[in-house]
Amino acid sequence: MKRYGEHRFPGKLFVVEGIDGSGKSTQLLLLHQWLKAEGFGVVFSEWNSSPLVRDITKRGKKKQMLSPATFSLIHSTDFADRMERNIIPLLKAGAVVLCDRYIYTAFARDVARGMDPKWVRELYSFAVKPTAAFYFRVPLETAIQRLLVGRSGFKYYEAGMDLGLSADTEESFRLFQGRIIEEYEKIVPEFELTVVDANQAIEVEQAQMRQIVRSKLAQAKRLRVAP
């Protein structure tokens, strides 16, 4: 069983992390476009994308059946499935793999729910260490303002309503995301995440990302992809 940092694959893995509203998904989309244009065989792998466990997770959330522990374990099941069937084979084939959220999301989110930090880290120790992981640091209020524009409200688990922090969804979201930011700030030095100041203009952030990704792709092989 290979552990974090022990895998050696020809492919490259780039991940973005940060709270909702930090702009990380937009940045990953722009990175994707650029890498495609550069001729790399690039593939998206999304959190919660495994068809196998997705339905179970959805039902658990909808029926509010999940405790902090089962929330953590069902997401790790999903992640393991993607790791074993999707990410590792792609990296072996030499692809550039992009992930919107990775193990650090679980570290931040599950610990904010009260799970033991060491337990969660060991649980995910099978994960491949990314070539680079970007953390989009944003003040909580900025993120909330961005989110309030785009959507009608927050979902139960996303707002941490299971923790009983507040009966008001928006207030609960604020408190819960605040805890998540605290956890991210511990993760950044521990796992050497690359911090992007997410208060900048989109194109400025993207230029910073591309510079770093380019430096990591110097020797990457370019898969021939169908036009």
């Binding site: 902090p68 393991a80 337990w119 649980l123 120790s125």
Partner: protein, 298 residues
């Protein structure tokens, strides 16, 4: 106060869990569910409220695991975590509330079966110990022990060879019979190591169901009345396993199945020390690697 094997889950209060947690362990087809079907009415006649539970019975993940296994598409880590989800849902939703209400919880398998299966699929001990470190320590673990030669006729004359019970995902052999023999032999070797490490109460399951039931009834009776589980137990229990040479073993892929299959030819009695155990260890049964501490260290 009840203990776990390490960490405690958020919101889980370990005080006042006054019921008894009794685990029936053993390999596929050994007769665990037959015994539970006998034990439950007996306990109820004795005036004890009983909750019986077992793998893949959780509301959250039970159906999902069954569906996934039909597709034969899960990797070993994914399957392990899926089972861990199922276990945790039952622990939080059924087992702990029942123990708090003073029930006798009879569980058909516990974390040990899940560990044994994962270990022969190349998942390492340290990872499994962490994953299940929040599990409650049971009041007793009864291990229904059987040799593969006694097991095979039972399976042949009941339900036949099953894909998973034959470890076909590991491709030990093209033929279902050979696969079953190899896989179960390796699995039993893992069980024996776990039996030592977690101090199982071993019951010879090669006899008649009624005979096994009689033994279980006596020993469970002692657990419920708070007596030591077996007057001879302390004499029979082995001293802790000395530290093995290698640990943090990362090269266990499918190999342990084959290697331990050879080692297991010597009928290793769990509590007997000597050549059988030595052989099993040399044979590459790595699960013992971390057993240097006390019997229940995780």
């Amino acid at each position: 106060m009840r203990e776990t094997y390490g960490t405690v889950l958020p919101g889980m209060n370990l005080a006042d869990l006054t019921g008894k947690l009794i685990v029936i362990e053993g390999t596929d087809g050994v007769g665990r569910s037959t015994q539970i079907d006998l034990l439950k009415p007996w306990l109820e006649q004795e005036g004890r409220a009983v909750l019986d539970t077992g793998l893949t019975r959780s509301d959250l993940a039970g159906r999902g695991i069954k569906q996934a296994k039909e597709g034969h598409t899960l990797g070993p880590l994914t399957l392990s975590l899926f089972y861990a989800t199922d276990f945790t849902d039952r622990l939080e939703q059924e087992i702990v509330p029942a123990l708090r209400a003073g029930f006798v919880v009879l569980t058909d398998r516990y974390i040990y079966s899940l560990m044994a299966r994962a270990l022969i699929r190349g998942i390492d001990t340290a990872w499994l110990q962490n994953a299940y470190s929040f599990a409650l320590k049971p009041d007793a673990v009864f291990y229904l022990r059987i040799g593969v030669d006694d097991l095979i006729p039972r399976v042949v004359f009941s339900r036949g060879f099953d894909y998973w019970e034959s470890g076909m995902d590991l491709h030990p052999s093209e033929d279902m019979y050979e696969s079953f023999r190899k896989y179960q032999t390796a699995l039993l070797a893992q069980f024996d190591l776990l039996a030592e490490k977690y101090v199982f109460d071993v019951i010879d399951a090669s006899g008649s169901p009624q005979g096994v039931f009689g033994q279980l009834r006596d020993r469970i009776g002692r657990v419920l009345s708070g007596e030591p589980r077996d007057p001879l137990f302390s004499l029979l229990t082995a001293p802790p396993v000395p530290p093995a040479a290698s640990d943090g073993d990362t090269k266990t892929e499918v190999a342990p199945v084959m290697v331990t299959a050879v080692a297991q030819k010597t009928p290793a009695r769990v509590r007997e020390k000597g050549p059988a155990r030595e052989k099993a260890r040399k044979g590459g049964a790595h699960a013992a690697a971390k057993t240097s501490g006390g019997a229940e260290s995780v």
